[in-house]
Amino acid sequence: MTVGIVIVSHSAALAAGVVEVAAAMAPDVVLVAAGGFDGGLGTDIDLVSNGIAAAQGGDGVVLLYDIGSAKMVADLAVEMLGDPEQAAVVDAPLVEGAVASAVAAQGGATLDEVLSAAASALNLE
């Protein structure tokens, strides 16, 4: 298994697009789009919690977010798990961080390694 990834966004299209772009370099990684709320823009904690469950393969889940409440909802969903080994929210640019995370996870990186790959994403091109 690899670390799983959840993309938390205000937009369903944005989350799906980030998953699509990141998946192109990480065919074996479970990437889940958790975007949009109630058919429109917004963040949805249930989508995020279900996304974590879907992305969890035993090696942990990394969450990336777009802006504002997406981070808060990601944090809340992780806190609700009650186990910091299971999932972590990373503070990284969304698209760049998602690609870096996905590539790291594809390479068999641990949760901590994926987090640091995401955090240094902007220096790559």
């Binding site: 917004g42 904690i45 409440s69 808060m72 944090d75």
Partner: protein, 205 residues
């Protein structure tokens, strides 16, 4: 008559009504500095809260607050969801299993609510957020609940007004830089509206 689960639930339902009445005002405030959804986010969220309370009134004040928290967290798609949600959740924790609220418990609940918003959103006083209304409210004191909540509402009102000349350093409005100056923060306004409504409910007890 004491401040039991039923009165807390009634105060929440009354507050939901106030949120509904101020929906458009909150939308306009958020339009100037954000994405124009704050009023609708809250109206919708409190609508679900009222439905949840219609279905079952939990039997302690803490349980009411906890129900409010979980509905807001899952039914509000903007920052107000996790922020108000966390604040109601922490307030619920602060009042514990008490059958009736006391001024001390209300004060503890307000302090815990503030702690929850700060933990969730990392804003400090002066960042032009709901913290600027909630922080002074949490410092209010009073010998009885109506007095305490009235003092809190007055403090929250002043705190909300104090956001007008500020630049925002948290939330969407932080993208506006200097252009946020001159606008009242929508979240601070809704904190003030909720506390005013709670104070009014408490006076009617």
């Amino acid at each position: 008559m004491g401040c039991d689960a039923r009165s807390v639930a009634a105060a929440v339902v009354a507050a939901a009504g106030v949120v509904g009445e101020h929906r458009d005002e909150l939308v306009r405030l958020d339009q100037a500095m954000g994405d124009a959804d704050h009023g609708e986010n809250l109206r919708r969220g409190f609508g679900f809260v009222v439905s949840a309370l219609d279905e079952s009134t939990p039997d302690t004040p803490g349980a009411v607050l906890k129900l409010v928290a979980s509905v807001l967290i899952s039914k509000v798609g903007g920052a107000a969801g996790p922020l108000f949600g966390t604040s109601f959740l922490r307030a619920a924790g602060a009042v514990g299993a008490a059958e009736e609220l006391t001024p001390e418990l209300v004060s503890a609940a307000l302090g815990a609510a503030l702690g929850g918003v700060v933990a969730r959103g990392k804003a400090e006083l002066g960042d032009k957020t709901m913290v600027d209304a909630l922080a002074p409210a949490a410092s209010a004191r009073g010998a009885d609940i109506p007095t305490l909540l009235t003092a809190a509402a007055i403090a929250a009102d002043a705190g909300a007004e104090s956001t007008i000349p500020l630049v925002a350093r948290k939330g969407r409005a932080s993208y506006l830089g200097e252009r946020a100056i001159g606008h009242l923060d929508p979240g601070a306004r809704s904190v003030a509206l909720l506390l005013r409504s709670f104070a009014n409910s408490a006076m009617g007890l």
